[in-house]
């Protein structure tokens, strides 16, 4: 299902996004976080239709406009120019967060700084002194959206684990993450902790374990 290249090891950003898109049911209302999650929109599987919500007041968000067709008053939550598809609607911030907090969005795909084995998410602040906290809509999204997917590199640029027993950074939400798509594996958050659901090409279970600071359950034989 995924395009394979000989000798490839792990997934690219695009492949992580594609793999996440495959796990979103047809007809879902979807909110995509800033960064890699935005790429999900490029990989909607054949025969499925998602409706995209952006928390700054647009349902039915379309792709970025052609160069030169940008409108500074038609943007997404990342403040990038977007388009509105036929059937779209504009609304104010309060109505927008009624959709989020009220449980009307089916799937939200977010980035992460840390995810704990219980599904706790930290993605807004390192908590470091002098850091300027900036939470945006992330806490509302994890509090209100039924299914929270995370797309993230498996480790930080410095090689530190992002999947941990307990988050050291301030939480965005507790027990909120459903599934994690990293460059190495797809991992479910289960009542028993992290469980590998799928390994990226060329990646072994031991390697994922080595790069994860929490117990990891192997693929379930089905």
């Amino acid at each position: 299902m995924l395009p394979m290249t000989g000798g490839m090891k792990g997934w690219t950003r695009e492949q992580m996004a594609m793999r996440a898109a495959m796990d979103i049911p047809d007809g879902s209302y979807v909110n995509l976080g800033i960064g890699i999650p935005e790429l999900v929109a490029k990989f909607v599987p054949e025969g499925r239709e998602f409706i995209y919500h952006t928390e700054n007041g647009l349902l039915g968000m379309g792709p970025e406009p052609a160069p030169g067709a940008e409108d500074s008053e038609l943007i997404n939550a990342g403040k990038k120019a977007v388009t509105a598809l036929p059937g779209a609607s504009f609304f104010h911030h309060c109505d927008s967060f009624t959709m989020i907090r009220g449980g009307h969005i089916d799937v939200c795909v977010l980035g992460a700084m840390q995810i704990s084995q219980y599904g706790d998410l930290a993605n807004w602040s390192t908590g470091a002194k002098g850091a300027i906290p900036a939470v945006g809509g992330a806490m509302d999204l994890v509090a209100g959206v039924k299914t929270i997917f995370v797309i993230s590199q498996h480790t930080t640029k410095n090689g530190a684990a992002k999947l941990v027993e307990k988050c050291s950074y301030p939480l965005t939400g507790k027990q909120v993450v459903t599934r994690i798509f990293t460059n190495l594996a797809i991992i479910d958050v289960t009542p028993e902790g992290f469980r590998v659901r799928e390994l990226a090409p060329g990646i072994g279970f031991e390697e994922v374990c080595a790069k994860t600071d929490a117990p990891l359950l192997p693929l379930e034989e089905t």
Binding site: G60, G87, R101
Partner: protein, 236 residues
């Protein structure tokens, strides 16, 4: 392709089970989804809890549903009207329960239910019998009463125009409770006077975005309840 259009009233309401909580839009007859209510009467679900501002007129629409004996409890602000005999009789006979909620609190509770707000404070009803037994909290020198969000299993809605995705617009004061009820029900079922193509509604002027809508049925020439009442019609 996402398509929320349903071809018949009967199939739109067929899964409403006994014991369901049903929000019904409208303020008096304005915005009342009378065709859907009649469909619900035909369908036969009973032991219903119904949320509406009133209790219907004559013996059609909501009043007919109440008359059918299938409503266990009404949550409303104003159960009396000049053409409403059905509810008072059942209520006095002890055959239907009533929770009376001020109109603004009813609207706010419905919005809260749809918006993931489980409870809020309001000055409305403080120092009145309707606040009895409720938590009072003093905030910045004024007393407020705690009220809880309201949700429903189903909402029955009347709108003016809809597309297959479930975007809705309304007509004049027939808007009333309909848009907020769309947000507060698990399954929102809409009777639309006219179905338009996707793209046929200006995104600036959509009142209910499609995320809040599950099923849409076209009812091109809806009955006007007061006409039926004037003609002495009883449904069914």
């Amino acid at each position: 392709m996402i398509n929320k259009l349903i071809s018949s009233i009967a199939s739109a309401v067929k899964d409403i089970p006994d014991g369901a909580t049903v929000m019904i839009g409208g303020f008096g007859e304005a915005g009342s989804p009378t065709a859907l209510i009649h469909g619900l009467i035909d369908q036969g679900a009973k032991e219903l809890t119904v949320i509406n501002n009133n209790t219907g007129n004559g013996e059609v629409g909501l009043a007919a549903l109440i008359a059918s004996g299938r409503v266990k409890k009404m949550i409303c602000s104003y159960p009396r009207s000049s053409h409403s005999k059905v509810f008072p009789e059942l209520y006095r006979a002890g055959k239907i329960m009533l929770e009376i909620v001020p109109q603004g609190t009813l609207a706010e509770r419905i919005r809260a239910g749809g918006a993931g707000i489980p409870a809020f404070y309001t000055a409305t009803t403080v120092n009145t019998p309707l606040a009895e037994g409720k938590e009072i909290r003093r905030i910045e020198g004024r007393d407020y009463v705690l009220e809880y969000g309201l949700k429903a299993d189903y909402a029955l809605i009347k709108c003016e125009r809809a597309d297959r995705l479930g975007n809705l617009t309304y007509n004049k004061t027939a808007r009333n409770f309909n848009p907020i009820m769309c947000t507060a029900a698990n399954i929102t079922i809409v009777q639309a006077r006219k179905i338009v193509d996707v793209g046929g509604l200006d995104p600036e002027n959509v009142i209910t975005p499609n995320i809040f809508v599950d099923r849409v049925v076209e009812v091109a020439n809806p009955v006007i309840e007061s006409d039926l009442v004037a003609e002495g019609i009883c449904y069914p």
